[in-house]
Amino acid sequence: MLEINDLHAEVDGKTILKGITLSVKAGEVHAVMGPNGSGKSTLAAVLAGRPGYEVTGGSVSYQGNDLLDMEPEERAAAGVFLGFQYPVEIPGVSNSYFLKAAVNAARTARGEPEIDAVSFLKELRAALKDMDMSDDMVKRGVNEGFSGGEKKRNEILQMLMLKPKLGVLDEIDSGLDIDALKVVGKGINALRSPERAFVLVTHYQRLLDHIEPDVVHVLADGQIIRTGDRQLALELEDKGYGWLTGEAA
């Protein structure tokens, strides 16, 4: 589904991704771990097409198409979803308007008619319930005044409504208490299917207790320095990154 090959990227003239190769098949869950500043969010941003991130080498193909050649909204239409490490607050645009606009953009891209108000509300209510969010949170501005945990739940709420094919979730577990982590884990698991794939950026093994990864990668200084199975995540939890990067733990 996703083939990243020797990807190099820079931000503001600074090289951050230094040759990343990664292959994600439909149905798989990949975890990407690594020290702060290693380039995990940069990788996610490049996959979603964030302006200002310049690809200087390599390629990314998604479902056989050149992902890097697509606008961010085209990627979204093709089923790529980025869960933000720091979701953006947009005061003045209500969450419900935003969700509806996003759902309709996806439907239009698929050649389907816009969703009717009743079906939209039904889906929204179900997703809100799954995410343990109150109705009034969709009336508020997008992420406006939300706590860190509420913002993360709102990301998953959007993902449940949009049903992407590839979910790239950047530290979706940071700032979540145990209960919220369960809720978020449940939301992600609900979408797992043989046609969908996920890339989970995380610092913590505990997320992976809820969502079992097929493959675990360690990203350090812009490169993947180790790939393994679940055991690798447990080992990292135990020993830190030092033993892999050559520094003292």
Binding site: A48, G49, R50, P51, G52, E71, P72, E73, R75, A76, A77, F81, L82, F84, P87, V88, I90, P91, G92, V93, S94, S96, Y97, F98, K100, A101, A102, A105, A106, A109, K139, G141, V142, Q158, L162
Partner: protein, 433 residues
């Protein structure tokens, strides 16, 4: 001090003494002349487009054109319509009013005088005189003590020019609200203009103790022909409260001065506005809040955008006089530049002569937030829609402060119409709740 005035310019030379209602005011205007950029208050707004043309005073009897026809005839308001500065009985309707209330065009009201305002607003003195000289009509509203008007009063100031001649028209309004009164006021400004037209309007109002006035304004003049010079001057008594919420959404040259004097403890001014300059237009908002007594409060919030090759100006003066202790004032302004040819000049000004006061202000000019733009695009909204959504929400959050909900919706529609793809924001009401 006053620099070279526009005295011997086509505008002044074309004035017809015979048309003047007030010879003294005309003499004052001719003596002072149109303000020039040498005056501080007119630094950012050049009146040359006015000075260089001869404007004929618009005659009575102009028809109701497309713009006026399109104003939904709300039955829930007392509507008073002026066409080119002349009262239109046909287009107006006034229902039953509580005892003692005077609501009439000045041409039909008795025993009313309108104060001369020149002294208080040096930047507007000449224009005030011009308005006084030529305005022979306007709204008169007197509300006796302890009276609430249940319906809003809706004033329509309509400009119509089907000729190939530049025209001008003037209105002078007066509001006197007694103690414990409640009044909602709406001002709609628009026009159908084949040629340039200059409309001026001066509002003077006084609010008695504990009176409340909620004023909603919507101005949308054609960007190629509509010119407007407006001043609102309100004086508040003890515990009186005024809200003035404006939306200025078009015009070749629009200048609105909103001045509030808080003369007694407990009085409050809430002044807000949005503007959207485009198509080479020019929109200038000046506010002046005078805290003249202790325990007075003011809140100001202005947001606007300038697109294309347009220019917008905001200047917010807050004066805290000696003795006005415990003044609480806050002024926040923000502007978005939607193109690199657009210009915004925004300036807060504080003059504080008391020491125990709280005066906050914030002023920003910038572009749309790139992070928010990307967030929307990453959820599938195309770039243009994302820009339109963000621009609309930027303005809408201030528009929400407009007391009259019908006027607010009308303003929201006009904002959408000014943006590419804006018609797709159909459920704008659902935007922010």
């Amino acid at each position: 001090m006053s620099g070279p005035a526009n005295k011997s310019v086509p505008f002044v030379e074309a004035l017809n003494q015979q048309d003047a209602q007030d010879a003294d005011a005309l003499a004052t205007f001719i003596d002072v002349g149109l303000p020039t950029k040498a005056l501080e208050a007119w630094k950012q707004t050049n009146l040359r487009p006015v000075a260089q043309q001869a404007f004929a005073l618009a005659a009575d009897g102009a028809p109701a054109g497309a713009w006026l026809e399109a104003q939904d005839a709300s039955t829930d308001t007392d509507r008073i319509v002026f066409i080119n500065g002349h009262f239109s009985a046909d287009a107006s309707h006034i229902g039953d009013l509580p005892d003692g209330v005077v609501l009439a065009p000045r041409s039909q009201a008795q025993n009313t005088t309108v104060a001369n305002l020149g002294q208080r607003s040096p930047g507007f003195a000449a224009l005030d005189a011009l308005n006084a000289a030529f305005a022979h009509d306007g709204l008169v509203l007197h509300v006796p003590d302890n009276t609430t008007l249940s319906r809003p009063i809706e004033l329509i100031d309509y400009a119509n020019n089907t000729s190939d001649q530049a025209q001008m028209a003037h209105l002078r309004h007066q509001i006197v609200l007694g103690r414990n009164t409640h009044v909602q006021l709406i001002e709609r400004v628009g026009g159908d203009l084949a040629s340039d037209q200059l409309n001026s309007a001066v509002w003077t109002g006084s609010l008695g103790d504990n009176a409340q006035l909620a004023m909603s304004r919507l101005g949308a003049l054609p960007d190629d022909t509509g010119m407007r010079l407006q001043r609102i001057d309100l004086t508040l008594g003890r515990d009186a409260k005024v809200t003035v919420a404006s939306a200025d959404l078009g015009g070749k040259l629009v200048r609105v001065d909103t001045d509030v004097a808080l003369t007694a403890p407990g009085s409050e001014a809430h002044v807000s506005g949005i503007y959207f300059a485009d198509n080479g237009g020019h929109i200038d908002n000046h506010t002046r809040i005078e805290h003249r007594a202790e325990h007075t409060t003011s809140r100001e919030l202005f947001r606007g955008v300038a697109a294309g090759k347009s220019k917008a100006v905001f200047n917010g003066m807050v004066v805290v006089e000696k003795g006005a202790q415990k003044t609480d004032s806050d002024q926040q302004t923000a502007a978005l530049l939607l193109s690199d040819r657009a210009q915004v000049a925004s300036k807060p000004e504080l003059e504080i002569y008391a020491d125990d006061v709280k005066c906050a202000h914030g002023n920003s000019i910038g572009q749309l937030d790139e992070a928010a733009l990307f967030y929307l695009r990453s959820r599938g909204l195309d770039e243009q829609t994302a820009r339109t959504v963000l621009t609309f929400s930027f303005l809408n959050s201030v528009l929400e402060l407009m007391p009259d909900t019908d006027l607010r919706s009308a303003a929201a529609r006009l904002v959408r119409d000014r943006m590419p793809g804006g018609e797709r924001l159909q459920d704008a009401e659902a935007f922010a709740q």
